[in-house]
Amino acid sequence: MERRKFIQMTAMAGLGMGGLPLRGALAQGNAADLFMVSAFSGPFAANGKYGEMGGRLAVKRLAAEAGRPLNYTTIDTQGNVGVATRKVQEAVAQKNARIFLGGALSSEALAMSREIHKANGLYITYVGADEVTGSNCNKSTFRWSVPTYGAIHETVAPVADLHPQAKRWYTITPQYVFGEGLLNNAKDVFKAKGIEHVGNSYHSLQEKEFSGYLANAVAANADVLLILNFSQQSIDTLRQLANFGLKKKMKIVVAWSAGLDHFSTLGADICDGIYFGVQYWHQHDVPANNEFVKLCRENFKSAPTLFTAQDYSITTMAIKAIAQANSTDPAKLIPVLEALKWDGLTGEEKVRAFDHQVEKNYFLLRGKPKDKMRDADDFADVVGLGKSFVPQDQSECKFA
């Protein structure tokens, strides 16, 4: 080999090898970093596990549309406000994180929302408390899920219409921001519908034993028991009320259910005849949802749960905004999100610019008997669906 040719080849090889990290760095600089914040350990670990599946599915599905590499990183908040706040602060300071998605509890989401807003970031969540897009709203925060106002209006009101003779309602409520939100909205609907609220039992977030509260509902001679807790606590409540034979004594309504997760855990025998309010239902027949269900069955060999669906939805929102803005700068993404409208998993979904709340459907389901189930996931019939949100003139959201 000639000396000159050898030098040329060596130089090219060196350039090629040296160029690899450079290319990587360039790609990295162009990449969008999405930080999924949720509980991966502790009592709310299911949120993180199944949520991540949905988030990563959205990244895979929309990789081409994004127009840049997408890095998806998870942060375990442990369902703890203090841990969530500290980890968000660390991610902002050490990883220059600006785009956050998720949140297991209303309390931690409200705390993270403040931190992310301080860092001029973007936060899309799905927690329930009205405050997120109400009195504690900020320009950085968006919410996909229907808040407590809509959940109550789409469950209590239609059930009251379906059973006009059932005038005595009893409530079981967890005593924290989310439960209070549901209860206050329920009282408003009771008033509007001429329903007598015959009593309420508050309980702590650590409660596991609900038999005493169920006895209170029996003592109050209630026609309807409205359950306002969530997750494992509503599973415990339903399991115990079925043990106590309350399904035969009164109508049961769960205003905020995790849907398929609940049904699978409880089984058809317990769910039969109970009304459930859900943010998402896998059988809803719209193109985006049909495609999503197909993707889930291909990738996970199962129908999507609420956790998977909601992370898929908010990750989709973020990626669509990044693609449209052609930027990862939250200042450029926020105006795009404020005008965003798309075919989502629940039908047409769009963001309200004045409070950053997504307008979407909320479903009212009724558990069906085991012998009427068409497949292993066919636990319920959709009794109703609709969109109820605080009107702009009544909204407490005022962006600074």
Partner: protein, 285 residues
Amino acid sequence: MAIYLFQIINGIGLGMIYFLIAVGLSITLGLLGFVNFAHGVFYLLGAYLTYQIAAATGSFLVAALVAPLAIGALAFVLERGVLRHTYDLPHKYQIIATLGVVLIVQELVVVGWGPLGHGVTVPEALSGIVMLGGFPYPIYRIFVVAVAALMAVGLWLLLERTRFGALVRAGSESAEMVTLLGTDVRLVMSGTLVLGAFIAAVAGVLIAPIRGAEPNMNIEALGIAFVVVIIGGMGSFTGSIIAGILIGVIQSVMSTVWAEGSQLMIYVAMTLILIAMPRGLMGRA
């Protein structure tokens, strides 16, 4: 008035479950002086094995018989492999070792069974309700009270009327003396810990059709168990029954009187008893 009477009856039923959860801890803590933070995982695994076996065989009875024995065997292995090495060490090492066991077992449960809970169907023969003063009460809960009462009698006979019970009590007073008399105290301690795990697993089996099996159920159980042990007095069998029923009744009655404070009042009761009787209701001097 009827509601309060019902809540007292309901609280007694609840208290018998609390007794089963706590009595094993009381024995290991009071008689062996061993701080076992892993006690709750035996309850947790008892519930999960019940779910698994009942799902596989379709029989709650098979699950109820097999699960406690399997957990007892597991406790024996755990005692031999890990826990016995900490018996002579200060309590802080026992706490660290048993907390480590809790974390490992809990994560293994999540890996094996997933982060969501699983339900166990109430056996057909025990389903249904009876009416107590106008209030429905599940037949299964009556069954649980009956089993807990039988367990209590059996345990009392074991500890008070058998050679094993005498050795456990004697070993707690003076392990050296018992050893000098030719008894392997370590074996007695193993047996006591296994017994505690077995009873906790029975509690897990019985609670599974009421609350299902879920990965964090051991945390609540451990909290309740410590409250029962503190109120009843460490190592006191009778104290565990009285304390279990007492907190069950407090929790249940407070559900009507002041629902949001029903959990809080358990700890208020514990504090008051601790102030008035520092060794608990039946604690030894």
